[in-house]
Amino acid sequence: MDRNNLQRQVAYTRRSLFDQGYLDDQFIQLEDLQDDANPNFVEEIVTLFYSDSSRLIHSIEQALENRPLDFGRLDNYMHQFKGSCSSIGAKKVKSECTQFREYCNAENAEGCTRTFQQVKQELAILRRKLEAYFQLARQAGGAQAG
């Protein structure tokens, strides 16, 4: 029972992540890659993503402090970061990245700064949701194995 409930919850949580646009198909690709050889593949990838992303986020932050803004450099960083986001299917974060790059092209400093805050925000939201999801999945899985 409990396990069933948990599993249902896991499925529901997962579904909503997609429905609400936090994740896209790439995440499913990751799930498909998970197997016996790498039973926690998805979580490992997400963890890797977050630890690596902090580096880029930090670089962007610093670059945003320089005046005048170096839009080219900002765009470059964001391009890299966007590539990274695409690896886990972070849909909302990616769209904020795109927005940011548009502001870079338009050389809109205020737009960049503002959008960057949103990037960070979406990143944090997704992280929380994924952490919760993984935890739930572990519990459900544990219950199962139990």
């Binding site: 198909d25 790439q26 690709q29 990751l30 498909d32 890659l33 790498n38 593949f41 490992e44 990838i45 890797l48 993503f49 690596d52 170096d70 080219g72 450099r73 765009d75 470059n76 391009h79 890299q80 966007k82 590539g83 990274s84 695409s86 690896s87 886990i88 299917g89």
Partner: protein, 608 residues
Amino acid sequence: MENGFPIPKTDKFPAGLRVLVVDDDPTWLKILEKMLRRCLYEVTTCGLARDALRMLRERKDGFDIVISDVNMPDMDGFKLLERVGLEMDLPVIMMSVDGETSRVMKGVQHGACDYLLKPIRMKELSNIWQHVIRKKIHEVKDTESHESMGNIQLMRNESDDFHDGLLPSGGNLGAVKKRKDMENGKHDEQGLVDPSASKKARVVWSVDLHQKFVDAVNQIGFDKVGPKKILDLMNVPWLTREHVASHLQKFRLYLSRLQKENEQKSSFGGLKQQDFSSGDLPGGFGFQNSISMDLKNAANRNFGYIRNEISIDNLEPKVHEGDMKGMVSFLPGTKPTSPLMGDFPPHHKARMSSQMDLTHSFKSLDQNFKHQPLESTLSTQKWNKVSMMQFKQPPNQEPKPYPLLEDDHSPLLFSGPKHHFQVDLQNSAPSTDLRTSLQVCNNSSSVKIRPLNTQCRSNDDRIEFPTGCTINSIPLATGSHIKNQEAFETASTVTLGVKNHMVAENCINNWEPVREKLTAGEQALPSSLEENSQSCLLQGDGCTEDIGYQNVELSDYYNPELIADLQAQYYDEFEFNCDKLFDSIENPLVDQGLFMAYPQAARVNFCD
């Protein structure tokens, strides 16, 4: 399965395909590794392009295919692509999150056999083996026209390599390893899958080797060239005809690519240094000046000449204020499109001094111009990674018809730039993209160099030329126009920020199309021009090569002394880096793509 069957019909095929994945993003690297493993490929990952190259070199036949990201911090993906294609002759697949047509085009032009957009699906990876097979088939076909026997051998070798890679060791590799001495003569119908014999050793075409190749080609005459003849002339004992054949093939492709680019992009100003060939634009910005787009002049092109990689690491560009002014006009303040004035002093027929020296170390720039009174001063821009291309004025003063420039050329200098020299310098990461457009107007006979910084990243030297690329228009000096020449020279120094390789490449590439244009329909290049056209672009390696090559080609226009001088200079100054050998080569090809990528930047107008 692995029973040595080459035939891709085995069930297990393409399992065991040896893939090298290069990506600076650790997340993607891990994902790709997992995906490729799922495809039963043998995967090696690498986070840095340099490491990848090293690995590839160390294990010459250790990989079947390379997958690389386009944006990497230490080296531009396109550059890596070129190198791999040239040195190791492996199929390379590019990846990027950016699917812009221009980028993809660039990949194609640099020789990528495919361009994947991130996020990548596993099914896209499962088919990559097709590129390996295809390449082998094509190689066979290409060499066939030259030497059928050799082809067979090559083919066999190729398939050996491939199959060896695919089939792990093996007892059953007997068939695969079977040595076939079919080289001379047995025709094997099996084709690609024939498990023949010896593994073909991949030759690394070092600067010296390539130089020999080029010399041989020049000696024979590009039209009459053939692998056997070249091989004989080169006199390198361990080199085989197959090696030469495949290198020649690439060289031809490169040349025809240049030519095509010239044709198709009239608007791209890239002055390729190499391209002013005799009879064509005399100046040749690039070091290869003499290369004309004509195919027959194609021989002049130095295959490896454009190396953008001008010793990136050692560049310490010096900025000469004075020079800068004189020269370029090109630096547009910080505006991407400020026109660069490089006028080529038209006066008489301009001879493009076309001595482009790409000096890694700017400090030595000045000495380049000692040839003649007109030596252009090297304007070096302080730039960390700038390669400077200098255009030197032709040594002789006599007015020679300058194909490009008509009589009404005005002195080069910042004044009325009639020619826009556009160099597309693209630096990865911190560099700025300099795009300068080279417009050559025949009638006006002036060359304007216009740097277009479409993307100016943070550059240290944004000064005038965003990436420290100063392009001095090449003054066409006619005999008595020393002044022009000087102006020209200074102006014609194009410094390419090369740290990023790409920049130089771009520059060079850009030059080429321009050159081609210029040369089109031009008269023969006066010998003096040729001399000057030794643009030594790039790294020492490239330079030497180019110089040599060019010189050989244009015997009329060639001043051996000059060349030797230049070469000496370059050798002294530059570090020869075999690795970079092909960078220059690649560049021309690559940059063409660059121009295309930034159409607004590249504009070469040949006004009639």
